[in-house]
């Protein structure tokens, strides 16, 4: 059993409440951190090698060190709890069952960054979690871990929960800031980056829920110890939310040394493909990252077993690899249609495009229309090439990464499953009643019993 740093106590009765959380050793990180210099905390996070858990994987300590500190200007920490990437529901789990872990991480991080007003921006649909978090905040405040003069150190901090109202784009940090300012969630044009000019034009750090929660074990055990867990630049543990056609969907905490194969087939994790079916494909890091057929998922192009970490999942680049992303692990069995699945994702991105810049606004709608045509048996072979060209012209040319996020799933689906798209075109009637099934090269090389 892998070591758990975040979810170790998730099944302790009453862990949502301060007393139980405290009895289980909670808020020790706050006590320790508030005796340290803020810069020393940043240094510990740097040493830990922690990478942003929201999807981009940018080193968190480095991000913190970019924060501008002009005299007399407030700085803000904002927790990004706008978890909206299809396939991802790990932050929800963490906030729902271990709210105090997040609050503890937020207090430590606020102290490190000098934020006296910290906001949790949570997606509007997670309305019931707002209550859970606000209760945890109130409890922490009653016990002197929040509010004025925390633990007698002279540090003041308030945490507020802000609900979004249904917009995937607000997971992008500058769109989130705009939304927090009471505006439309239009991403800002960068530079300037939030570290210089963020919330209300003040220096701001935006971090994912899991990232901020991970600060707690980092402070407790020290950055160097934390960095010993995992492999290479994938240090610590990662929450993976597994869903799709598997026996045991749910949120798992892994240390990043296990193989993808073990993750899918071991009973400790996904428990294999549901209903005795075969594995067809998988999106390992949330809907935006490239989908991989079974063979490339389980082994890299070099023939090595693929591991559940940043480096191994992206081994081979987009040609034969994918990305760790947000850890939204979507598994497709042999009965699933790649075209239809890609269509639902294209529809998602069209629906979630803010409409600010032209490639994304126009391109996402166009992609969805063509995919609808192919899915309904009305496509032509030239449509597949057209899709490829459109995604290519969206990627990299937009204001924010939503353009890339919309382009990659389409590109990867065509790259690895072009024969299935062509099958749709060539069998316009058959494709309405049945699915293509396994791609010939998607036969799992080796399926454990």
């Amino acid at each position: 059993m892998a070591k758990k740093l975040l979810l170790e106590k998730d099944h302790v009765e009453g862990i949502r409440h301060f007393d139980v959380y405290r009895r289980e050793g909670g808020y020790a990180a706050v006590e320790k951190a508030l005796k340290m210099e803020p810069a020393a905390i940043v240094e510990e996070v740097k040493k830990s090698g922690l990478r942003g858990r929201g999807g981009a994987g940018f080193p968190s300590g480095l991000k913190w060190s970019f924060l501008a500190k002009p005299e007399g200007v407030p700085r803000y920490l904002v927790c990004n709890a706008d978890e909206s990437e299809p396939g991802t529901f790990k932050d929800r789990y963490l906030m729902e069952f271990l709210p105090h872990l997040l609050i503890e991480g937020l207090i430590v991080s606020s102290f490190a960054l000098g934020s006296n007003r910290t906001y949790i921006y949570i997606r509007g649909e997670y309305a019931w979690i707002v209550g859970i978090l606000e209760q945890a905040i109130a409890e922490a405040k009653q016990n002197g871990f929040l509010g004025k003069n925390i633990l007698g150190t002279g540090f003041d901090c308030e945490i507020y929960v802000q609900r979004g109202a249904g917009a995937y784009i607000c997971g992008e940090e500058t769109a989130l800031i705009e939304s927090l300012e009471g505006k439309r969630g239009n991403p800002r044009i960068k530079p300037p980056f939030p570290a210089i000019k963020g919330l209300w034009d003040c220096p701001t750090v935006v971090n994912n829920v899991e990232t901020l929660a991970a600060v707690v074990p980092i402070i407790n055990m020290g950055g160097e110890e934390y960095a010993k867990i995992g492999v290479g630049r994938s240090t610590g543990t990662k929450l993976i939310s597994a869903c799709g056609n598997i026996n045991k969907p749910g949120v798992y905490e892994i240390d990043m040394t296990i193989s993808v194969e073990e993750f899918i087939y071991s009973d400790e994790y996904c428990g294999g493909i549901a209903n005795g079916k075969k594995l067809k494909a998988c999106i390992p890091g949330g809907s935006s990252v490239p989908i991989l057929p079974a063979n490339l998922l389980l082994t890299t192009a070099k023939g090595e077993p693929r591991l559940m970490n940043y480096e191994s999942l992206s081994d081979g680049g987009f040609a034969t690899g994918s990305m760790m992303g947000s850890g939204g692990f979507i598994v497709l069995d042999e009965d699933q249609c790649i075209v239809r699945h890609t269509l639902t994702l294209a529809r998602f991105y069209r629906h979630e495009s803010c409409g600010q810049c032209s490639p994304c606004r126009e391109g996402t709608g166009w992609v969805e229309k063509i995919l609808t045509k192919i899915e309904n048996g009305k496509g032509a072979i030239s449509d597949i090439d057209l899709l490829w060209d459109i995604q290519r012209k969206i990627e990299g040319n937009t204001i924010c990464p939503l353009g890339d996020a919309a382009a990659w799933p389409v590109a990867a689906a065509i790259r690895h499953f072009r024969d299935e798209f062509e099958w749709h075109v060539n069998n316009p009637e058959l494709c309405l009643t049945q699915n293509h099934g396994l791609a010939h090269y998607a036969d799992p090389i080796h399926v454990p019993a």
Partner: protein, 365 residues
């Protein structure tokens, strides 16, 4: 030491220029001028925070700066990217830029109705120019184009949402020039639109400027609607003593009639000085204005085909061109017909409908 402003060097398409610190790539390119200037559909130098949205001005930064020579990984919006010392930029020399820009033009035209034949903006439309420069003849889009519910913005401004490219310039105009904004961007994604939500006319005294900043025919002058084509009208600079604005405008005339009044625009199509609604919509008589002279319009513009300005008669006579010989007519029509014989007064020829009827002087003779 001199107090000179600190300048930095930037090279765009192999042309190096010194620019002040804080200049954007697009501004630097405009200092060089000519073909190295990237097209801009949403950026407007006189509107703060504009730009970055349309993606037509994307350029390749092949060298970040002298200090950090790494190229930038993605194409960048030149209107919102600051110049660094020693930066090297490729615009028209980059195949990547050409490709991306073709894509952007295709996206912008995807749902555009292409109703130029009935659009008042035709002839001075930046999307037309862009399509001409970077577009393709056909479209690969085979679906129904997007439509919107019609909104009435009052007696002066006509909104055609289907033509809009969402540059946000009109929103910035309302924010920065007027004290109260009553229109904005509603909805999101491909349904985003310019509207007021509840039917509301735009009536601020400076709101008429949204017409001038609109790069396409989405916001046009209702008082000019369907009156004429811009290339048949004659632009002249004029001014009047106005209480609320500079009163410096361009009148678009046909004969003596003033069909339209706009602000004066510079070579980038940007307004030089904002004008008020009174000047724009209410002063449509030549006598309201002091006329200064013809407005200079770029020779590349279809408007310049009206030849109202700088008409140059050829200096050479036929004789000079023909090396001293006068051209010989192939057939002397006068030898077979007296029609048009220069020696004959046409009004004296007998027959129906001569000018006799109309010319009293000949009658007397």
């Amino acid at each position: 030491m001199s107090e000179a402003v600190k300048t930095i060097k930037v090279t765009i398409d192999n042309i190096t220029v010194d620019v002040p610190v804080g200049t954007t790539i697009l501004q630097a390119a405009r200092m060089i001028g000519g073909d190295v200037v990237p097209p801009a559909m949403c950026y407007y130098s006189k509107l703060q925070d504009s730009g970055g949205k349309c993606r037509t001005c994307l350029v390749e930064v092949s060298k970040g700066s002298e200090a950090d020579p790494r190229p930038m990984p993605k194409l960048v919006a030149s209107c919102r990217t600051g110049v660094m010392d020693g930066m090297e930029v490729k615009n028209m020399t980059s195949p990547k830029v050409e490709d991306a820009r073709n894509g952007v033009v295709e996206f912008l035209l995807l749902n555009h109705p292409l109703d130029c034949p009935v659009c008042d903006q035709a002839g001075e439309c930046h999307l037309q120019d862009l399509g001409y420069g970077h577009g393709k003849q056909g479209t690969r889009y085979e679906f129904k184009r997007r439509t919107f519910e019609k909104h009435d913005l009052g007696p002066y401004i006509q909104l055609h949402m289907t033509r809009c490219i969402l540059c946000y310039r009109c929103v910035f105009v309302a924010d920065q020039l007027t004290d109260k904004r009553s229109h904005g961007i509603l909805s999101r994604g491909d349904h985003a639109e310019i509207a007021t939500y509840i039917e509301n006319s735009l009536d601020n005294n400076f709101i008429g400027n949204v017409i001038d900043v609109c790069p396409v025919g989405a916001l046009t002058d209702k008082t000019f609607r369907f009156k004429n084509r811009v290339w048949f009208t004659k632009p002249v600079n004029a001014h009047r003593d106005c209480k609320c604005c500079s009163g410096k405008v361009t009148l678009w005339q046909r004969g003596e009639e003033v069909l339209r009044v706009t602000a004066r625009k510079d070579q980038w199509g940007e307004v030089e000085e904002w004008i008020c609604n009174e000047c724009r919509f209410e002063k449509k008589k030549t006598t309201d204005w002091t006329i200064e002279g013809p407005t200079h319009v770029s020779r590349h513009s279809v408007i310049s085909q009206g030849h109202y300005e700088n008409v140059q008669m050829p200096n050479e006579t036929f004789k000079a061109v023909h090396g001293g010989r006068n051209p010989q007519l192939l057939m002397d029509i006068h030898s077979v017909s007296e029609v048009n014989d220069p020696s004959i007064d046409l009004s004296l020829i007998n027959g129906p409908a001569t000018s006799d009827v109309y010319n009293p002087s000949t009658k007397q003779a």
